[in-house]
Symmetry: D3
Subunit: 147 residues, 6 copies
């Protein structure tokens, strides 16, 4: 289930595509229950009808959670999450939309901690119309091979 | 349920404290089910015993989700989330830990879109021992009053 | 799966005992997620330590929900719920407590609607120490046989 | 997050309106799982088609749970739930209905326990057509100021 | 809640019919979360459109779980599950389908363990069109009366 | 995410090991809610104390669901589930037990449908003590390469 991919093995602009997942009403209801965020944007269909977006929309944290889940299929045993930068929610995701992510290595640089480097994955999430709905930079702390 | 707080009304270094929430095994199991991330760090107690952290740890996306939920208690009708920057998971959160967040206005600046400004909330999440476990910057796009 | 028990067949003081159910942390977390009630009494173990009851307690609506579920094992096709009276939460229910209910026919009377009568079930919920934790009156609208 | 509102500060006929919430199929499925009530009224669409109400309906305990959750937004630190009276389910709630509650102070009276009084909130739950679907009286035990 | 039905009391070809249950999108999402099986057959509506079955289908383990639940209404205190044989998924079950099961005693034989016999229930699950969607043999180890 | 492994490429006695998963109280509570099986063996800790196994045990369908999920990590695009044979629950699984599965190709044979063969995987599930808790045969219908 795990792989071993060292810092030196990452290549700039390397790209991979995740599988897709349909965002359901169930996901939104469970996410409200997990986050405690019952804002009417997610939970009140009647109120949403009075708003520009017209329909209930998924929580940003739900889209981020699903996106990270879609990208996390294989454990790289010499890498760990350092953090996330520039997380932006570009367009609303509605019930029934299907999202998938493209992951592109967008930056590779040394880290002050000897034996480690930082690899940045640009995560772009698209809906079924090919529209970008979310983007973020996933920064990984990766072991160097020679270390 | 909603308030109206314009850009001009935010003050640098203004601080607020959220309530607390105990992170349960249930939260982790439901989060695995929502994210699709069943990595052994979260789901395999026996494997975790062989690791430096010894016990199952919460998903980063779970802690982020709970933290955002804790901070999101009141709807400001003239503000919306622009994005999140510099999200970092500083220390692992274990089953039974109780987390709460401190929110500090850390930056206020104009936005190129006329009538709007950007307000940054520094979100710091602490466990019951007062240790910082997560930090991020929540950037808000806020209407100006005069607009 | 269904039975047919008419108004005339209910007897005052008739008593039945339900099965038991252990109230788990999972039940409380799911109930918070369903009700939207994330009050610290249910969700913040650290805050609870500072309170007289010391530990997280189950939501009243959770205990009521479980109690009604325990009593509702067989469908009586000529009876429907009219309502509930005098619902009281006598003692807190903690994570790990096991509750069961005793149901006693406490009142039988005519109803203004011809062909119907009202039957009251006294529902008493006990924990594993035999302490009464919840009580309510379940009022049933039941068809008369001759109708 | 908490307020302090003493017995003397409640006024008869004072009224507040909660936010709304759409009752989803997910809520019903999760509630069946929480209550153990899998009666065909809630779970068997084909059977429901043969009944007067034609479609699956929400559990009474689900509507009560959501209603209590909608009303419970702010903790009053000098008040606690004494119980609920006259809970009635007036009309069925269907999947996709949006409910909200009106809370009116309907009774204020002394309590035998010195330093306490009883305040009754009449909770009326309406669907998106303005039809009353549920009603109950929420009785609060509230500290007196002078106590 | 329990009954006592000994080995000698089972009759070949005895048949019973369970209640029905509508398989919802919620059931599939929760089952993915419980099993960890996020295959696109269940989770990706867009991908499913490109497949012969056109729509998301329920997990086999979900249909088996619901079927066993439908058949397990009464505890027979002198019987326990020995195992399941020849479990087959004959047709896909889609979101919104309603399934029910027919249980027929298909085999009765002695067991090498003295005082016990094996009773086989043929479990056939049908959708709302009367099509067989799943079948299995449930083998029970049942006490003999004289033992 | 998918692979293509034809009938001819399976080898008798080929073995693989899945990852592990800790069976939690949450899993049992959610499974009761999904299956509708609230038997006291799974839900009533007090009753269980009076039984030989002393503690709540996981539903058989839960262990089967988790086991199938653990084995289903990669989609083989030329293979589909034909069914399961000889599913047996050998030992109870308790809350906190960690299970993992060994999958061994135990049979390979032609199928009457031209261009297809049947491959049997013996699935053995072990707890953290190395005890066999569940076993079944997973029968796959696999495309032949030359077809």
């Amino acid at each position: 289930m795990g792989i071993t991919k060292y810092f030196e093995e990452f290549k700039l602009n390397e790209k991979r595509q995740t599988g897709g997942r349909t965002v359901t009403e169930t996901d939104i209801v469970i996410h409200a229950g997990q986050s405690g965020d019952f804002f009417p944007h997610h939970m009140d269909e009647e109120w949403c009808k009075t708003q520009p977006f017209k329909k209930r929309i998924a929580h940003g944290t739900l889209i981020f959670t699903i996106a990270v889940g879609l990208t996390a299929h294989v454990i790289n045993e010499v890498s760990m999450t350092y953090g996330y930068d520039r997380l932006r929610f570009i367009k609303p995701v509605f019930i029934g939309d299907t999202i998938k992510a493209t992951v592109t290595i967008s930056n590779i640089k040394d880290h002050k901690k000897p034996g480690f480097g930082l690899v940045t994955e640009l995560v772009e999430v698209f809906n079924q119309h090919g529209e970008l709905v979310m983007v973020c930079e996933h920064v990984l702390l990766v072991h160097k091979k020679e270390s």
